[in-house]
């Protein structure tokens, strides 16, 4: 009796996770897949006189892939990612190493200050930065520098994202640094190693797995770039409504009310995202080994 109960226990324990996953990831995913094979067609008359959903096979996928705006949005996302990923991981590593130096002053409050932006919701952060960028309201020289220029806009968007994510990644790397055995440092000091050489030759190689994980997180975050450009959009002509892929999907679904094409683009995007995650996690596990 007791043995049978124990056999059921694991299933019971994973049930909430499976139920939530099914309800909020699998079911909507299947729904999106179904939508992606359908299209809305009007049924005669000047104004259509109502409309119906018809099965169109892979038409939506063809349309989505042939849309030059999708490819431009991907290109813009990649440009932001090229700024966002190295800057986030680089600053996170730098701050973590600085905070790990012995006898550093105000370590706790600095750590909190660096982490704090992570607690600010992305939309709020983007609005705040938007006001800092706009010439009329800028306290940081927006009337001299055009933060929404053709090139500068990529830096402006990436900056908001970096500002929001450095803190989290800094904590991840800092925690990894703290887990290193202190004998290593003592031995290095006895050998006359300076703090700088210790950081570069001992700490960085040993926390490489944490750095790799941060890079993976940040790369996935770039795929999901949406809040920052979408919030900055009404402030400037520089950010179009299809600036990054998720904005393009949102625009198709909720502005142009073509949910079906948006679903097809989403499915394609999921496949691409899974491929990126797969390659990236393979790389990470190789580093960890």
């Amino acid at each position: 009796m007791a043995a049978r109960n124990r056999a059921k226990l694991p299933y019971l324990l994973v049930l909430p996770a499976v139920a939530l996953l099914t309800l909020f990831v699998v079911a909507p995913g299947v729904y999106a897949l179904v939508l992606s094979f359908q299209a809305r067609k009007v049924t005669g008359g000047l104004l259509g006189g109502g409309s119906k959903l018809v099965f169109v096979g892979l038409d939506n996928y063809g349309l989505a892939l042939a849309d030059p705006e999708l490819w431009s949005s991907i290109a813009r996302m990649v440009l932001v990612a090229l700024l966002f990923i190295p800057a986030t991981v680089g600053f996170a590593l730098l701050f973590a190493l600085l905070l790990d130096v012995p006898r550093v002053k105000l370590a706790r409050s600095s750590r909190l200050a660096i982490f704090l932006p992570y607690a600010v919701p992305g939309v709020i952060a983007s609005l705040m930065w938007g006001f800092m960028y706009l010439p009329a309201t800028s306290p940081i020289g927006g009337d001299h520098v055009d933060f929404f220029g053709a090139t500068t806009v990529f830096f402006s968007v990436a900056n908001v994202a970096v500002w929001g994510s450095v803190g989290f990644n800094m904590i991840v790397i800092f925690t990894a640094l703290r887990a290193l055995p202190s004998e290593l440092y003592e031995a290095a000091r006895i050998d006359g190693c300076s703090e700088l050489r210790m950081a570069l030759r001992i700490k960085v190689p040993l926390v490489l797995p944490a750095i790799a994980m941060c890079t993976l997180f940040t790369a996935l975050a770039s795929l999901q770039l949406f809040n920052e450009p979408n919030t900055l959009r009404p402030l400037s002509n520089a950010v179009s409504s299809t600036w990054v892929p998720l904005m393009k999907i949102y625009e198709d679904a909720f502005v142009n009310s073509d949910v079906n094409k948006a679903a097809a683009t989403s499915v394609l995007f999921v496949i691409a995202a899974l491929a990126v995650s797969f390659v990236a996690s393979r790389t990470v596990s190789r580093v960890n080994r």
Binding site: A32, L33, L46, S51, A150, I249, N256, S266
Partner: protein
Amino acid sequence: MRSQWRLAGALVAGALLVAGCGGGGGSDQPAADGKVNLTFWDWDPNMDKVVAIWNQAHPDIHVTLSNPAGGDQLVSKMITAHEAGNGPDIAKVEYQSLPALVAKGVVADITQYTGDAAKDFDDTTLKATRFEGKVYGVPQDVAPLMLFYRTDIFDQNGLKVPTTWDEFKQTAQQLHDKAPQVAMTNFDAADPGWITGLMQQGGADWWSASGTTWKVAINSAQSKKVADYWQGLVTAGTVAKNPSFSPQWNKQMNEGQIATWISGAWAPAQLGGIAPNTKGKWAVAPLPAWTAGDKTTGIWGGSATTVTADSKHAAQAAQFAAWLNTDDKAVTAQIQNINIYPAATSGRSLPILSQPPAFFPNQANYYDLVKQAAPNSRSFSIWGPNVTVTFSGYTDKFGAALQNNTPFATALDDIQNATVADMKKLGFTVS
């Protein structure tokens, strides 16, 4: 971004799911005492005061006002809510969006409830809400495009109010020479309402229909004439080019860095929120003409009160829509609080129209000028069934043209192509 690693498919479908779960309104079943509850989506400032009058006089039909979004954004919300089956009972819809909402089955045919109310509108006004003989909304206001200008800036710089577009261009140059930090006006790529009004004045007819066949002429010669004119002003640097209703634009308007606003007759109520420091400094004039003496103008917005297909109390909802736009007390309250110029014929002779809007205490003849402009406002033959595509195309293509200094005419070609492609995809016949 951040730590929610949700996948994109889940995002779109999940958003639909959330929309389905969220309480967006919808009709309650009549309570035991027979009381009907209606929800009303509207973004007019001070509309609550008008709704309060109705609720006081109609204890059996309670209207709850909500303002989830304005203009085109509300149209998107209505479509999404309709898909989820939880739209409001009543909604304010601008004329340009109505055919699209009819085509999607979002708004209801209320011909049977509006027989009496319809008599209070002239044919030109009713044309905006009546398609193929069916009435889909009660017109609320008409908004002829006018020239709003800062009297103080014009006086300080010795400028005369321009009556033709040639004069407007010269005046812009004079202002630029005397006060380079002040722009003549703002060229706005964010809101398509004003540019379509200018296109209408210029003789363009973006959509027309014969039988069930559509003709789309967004990149016609008339449109390009208007676009080229504005490109000239933008290139000369005499007009600003920021998105309107943005913090940047609001601040420029409030601090006197923009001398004119080409806008609809509803502008005074909006200006109070946009540029509170400028009370009493504005005046209105007819829109400059392409040829001297021509009184033709366009429209920006103008709305109808519609009943949605989801409403379970269409009769009561239509009754409210009719009351809101034809009852003398309701229309008076709207003129007073929202500064609309009424669509109803009877509303146009109300005594309240002899008083200027609160934000324009200096211009006693405000509504006289609007009244003169209204009959000369020209709209397109009909608004397209997919204006949202056209409008988002305008925002993106003109935004990019302003950003990269590329020709407006090419942007018009792009919008034309996107609009026609979408209509064909949906199954409309396009000639």
